[in-house]
């Protein structure tokens, strides 16, 4: 057996062992889970080094060709290319650090064995997504991360809010996955394959352009004129459906607008879960999937436009909400949404390399921020409201320093990792359309503003509550991951990630020598330091300064913008309309099920046979003579029928 399969098998075995038996023995569970994560990271390093070859694919499902059915062969394999290797290192690396951090963070929880079992399921599924060679396999693991996310958000299921948040996340993801499924099926119908290996995707791209040119050659009249004018490229509707379907999967998993509502609520889970799943890796899976299928996306300019627009809108929308949140984890959650919006916008603006670069650095500093926030929460005995903190910087200095590094990386302060990746994203956006750039810049201002607000309120000033006066620094099992992630957040911009992904994107599009490689398909921004760094840096400074002057020394929030604090009333809107509508529809279905199906059909049949039995019961009188009489009547009838009735 190939050693690469261990990447999937180890976490799977660990999770099975924990969920079946070891959850009663927390120490053994931690050993199994963390051990499997560590081994996976080592194997991932070997994979990235190139010393572990991709294993031969196994046939998973094989539907032979028959009349009217083109045949479908689904293989379970592993795809090792630059993109998946990079993502694999992020997933296993950040995953391992979060596993280690959790040992400390969850040390007082009685059911921590179950927690580590959930983490192992997550590692199994996430590795599967990263290495999937086709969309069916990807979808399988896609649902797997949805499951582990559900299990871990609802980890403290005794809390009603946690159970509700878990349901919300699962339902949102399921809804979006329906669109994803449509996208996958359309892909299969159009291309006759579900493979997402680079050379296959290149062939699909060529096939797609043929379909496009067929459509364009059949244009006539006004539509032909529009096409010649170059304003709109007509695209076969199915190609757009395919792209939007694939994007719909990303919208659910990466919590883009309008499915963004589940991610902030997912903060009900333990903080390491928020760091690993709902910030660093799982929510980035949507962006990863978009980058992976990038040659398909560029087939539909309309689809790309939708992607860029939704990404851009989510970025600014979430940043606005984050300005008025008071829960330290929720601020970070909205900032995650905003940064995911950046990544999706970068994909839509023909910059998959920029998206992956930002994804990587974001994984470092957002995991760091969440873990540091976890350290704060741990130090303050589950206190999450930033207005009940204050003055923490000298009491938990290590947490403060690491949090500050994460914050500086997030707002894009040089020379931290976020500075490079965010500027690359913004440059790509400018190349595509300046409007995206300016929205991105304003989002950067907001990011700097709300992160400074968080820092000033939580770490500066006097302690506002008794618990904030006596925090205790976290044990080293928690601080060491923080330090490692801080280092990554500092050096993330210098270690060639940008070049790495840019080479990948160019190679991907040149996979068969048939793909165009110019500014239209992979944006290569012009070097313009004012656009790329100058203006973003100025806005960041403005954001930091305004937040500092507004919040320094305040005991309550001087800004009160209800519409932002209430998250633009989206939860209420969904509750009033979608949820109520769904519930009404559900009660109609319930009525049909209860009265028509169960009442009429199932119970009806039952009552019919019971009624017949009741009727026939009347003949059983218990009187021998009656039986004999009926019997002789029957005999007489029989004789009559045989002799006289012809």
């Amino acid at each position: 057996m190939d050693i690469a399969w261990l990447l999937l098998l180890l976490p799977l075995l660990a999770s099975i062992a924990i969920l079946v038996h070891l959850h009663r023995k927390p120490d053994m569970a931690i050993f199994a889970s963390v051990g499997s994560a560590a081994l996976c990271f080592l194997i991932a390093l070997a994979v990235a080094w190139g010393s572990v070859p991709a294993p031969a694919s196994l046939v998973w499902m094989d539907f032979p060709e028959s009349a009217g059915f083109p045949g479908l062969r689904i293989e379970a394999g592993m795809l090792f290319d630059s993109l998946s290797k990079g993502m694999l290192l992020i997933v296993t690396g950040v995953g391992l650090l979060v596993h280690i951090f959790s040992i400390g963070y969850m040390s007082h929880d009685p059911s921590k064995g179950r927690f580590f079992g959930g983490l192992s399921i997550f590692m199994f599924s996430m590795t599967g997504i990263v290495l999937a060679t086709n969309l069916i396999m990807l979808f399988f693991f896609w649902e797997g991360v949805g499951l582990s996310s559900y299990l871990l958000i609802g980890f403290w299921y005794q809390k009603e809010s946690a159970a509700a948040a878990a349901n919300k996340a699962f339902v949102c993801n399921r809804l979006a996955d329906f669109g994803f499924m449509i996208g996958i099926l359309t892909f299969w119908v159009m291309m006759g394959t579900v493979s997402i290996e680079p050379d296959q995707l290149a062939q699909c791209y060529v096939h797609g352009t043929q379909i496009q040119s067929q459509v364009q050659s059949t244009l006539h009249g006004v539509t032909a004129l529009i096409h010649q004018s170059g304003l709109i490229t007509p695209t076969p509707i199915l190609l757009t459906v395919m792209v939007l379907g694939l994007f719909c999967g990303c919208v659910g998993k990466s919590a883009m607008f309008p499915f963004h509502v589940w991610l902030p609520d997912a903060m009900e889970g333990p903080t390491p879960v928020s760091a690993l799943i709902h910030a660093a890796t799982m929510v980035a899976a949507g962006v990863y999937m978009l980058c992976r299928t990038y040659p398909l996306l560029i087939l539909s300019p309309q689809g790309m436009g939708v992607i860029a627009f939704i990404g851009c809108f989510t970025a600014i929308f979430a940043a606005l909400i984050a300005v008025q949140q008071n829960d330290i984890k929720r601020i970070l959650a909205y900032s995650t949404l905003s940064q995911l919006g950046y990544m999706v916008m970068a994909v839509g603006c023909s910059g998959p390399d920029a998206a992956m670069f930002h994804l990587t650095t974001h994984a470092f500093f957002k995991a760091l921020l969440f873990l540091a926030a976890g350290s704060v929460i741990h130090a303050l005995h589950e206190e999450q409201d930033i207005w009940r903190m204050g003055g923490l910087w000298k009491k938990i200095p290590l947490t403060f320093v690491t949090f500050a590094i994460g914050m500086l990386a997030l707002i894009g302060c040089p020379p931290f990792a976020g500075f490079f990746s965010k500027d690359y994203v913004l440059a790509v956006a400018y190349e595509h359309h300046p409007a995206f750039y300016w929205v991105g810049v304003f989002t950067a201002f907001l990011t700097a503003f709300y992160m400074t607000r968080l820092m000033v309120v939580a770490f500066w000033g006097p302690a506002r509550t008794p618990t904030a006066e006596h925090p205790h620094e976290s044990p080293s099992v928690m601080t060491i991951p923080l330090i490692l992630l801080s280092i990554l957040s500092i050096i993330g911009g210098f270690i060639g990630i940008e070049t790495y992904y840019h080479t990948w994107a160019v190679n991907q599009l040149q996979a068969t020598g048939q793909l165009p490689i110019d500014g239209h398909f992979v944006a290569i921004p012009e070097a313009n330091w004012m656009i790329e760094s100058g203006i973003p840096l100025l806005t960041v400074l403005a954001g930091v300064a305004s937040a500092w002057f507004l919040y320094n020394g305040r005991a309550t929030d001087p800004l009160r913008i209800t519409v932002l604090a209430r998250k633009f009333y989206f939860d209420e809107f969904y509750d009033r309309n979608l949820v109520v509508g769904t519930q009404m529809w559900a009660s109609v279905l319930n009525w049909i099920d209860g009265w028509i199906l169960e009442g009429l059909v199932i119970r009806g049949l039952a009552y019919f046979s019971v009624g017949m039995g009741e009727l026939l019961k009347l003949f059983q009188t218990g009187s021998l003579q009656a039986y004999a009489f009926l019997f002789s009547l029957g005999g007489a009838l029989l004789i009559y029928l045989t002799l006289f009735a012809h």
Binding site: T621, L624, F629
Partner: protein, 103 residues
């Protein structure tokens, strides 16, 4: 007057009808049992009569009657034993009292 097959059949039918009325109307198990035997003999009578008036002189019907009488004797032995056993348990042979299997 010559006695024809129809006369025998008429007697047999009458016997059968009397027996059946006895089975249906009498309450005592022993009487019912006797009526049952009477129905059996009516059937025997038709068999013998058909055999007697068989134009080819076959005696199958008469042989068959011997079998019926033999089996009926054995059945009477079992049936009477059952009735005695039943009487020991229930102290009655009236059928209207024997209705424990009614719903």
């Amino acid at each position: 007057m010559e006695i024809t097959l129809n006369h025998y059949l008429a007697v047999a039918a009458t016997l059968f009808a009397i027996g059946m009325m006895g089975v249906i109307m009498r309450r005592n198990l022993l009487i019912i049992y006797m009526s049952l035997e009477m129905m059996l003999q009516a059937a025997n009578l038709t068999l013998v009569a058909f055999s007697r008036f068989n134009p080819r002189g076959h005696l199958d019907g008469q042989v068959f009657v011997f079998f019926v009488i033999t089996v009926a004797a054995a059945e009477v032995a079992v049936g009477l034993a059952l009735i005695v056993a039943l009487y020991r348990v229930r102290q009655t042979t009236q059928v209207q009292d024997l209705n424990t299997l009614k719903f």
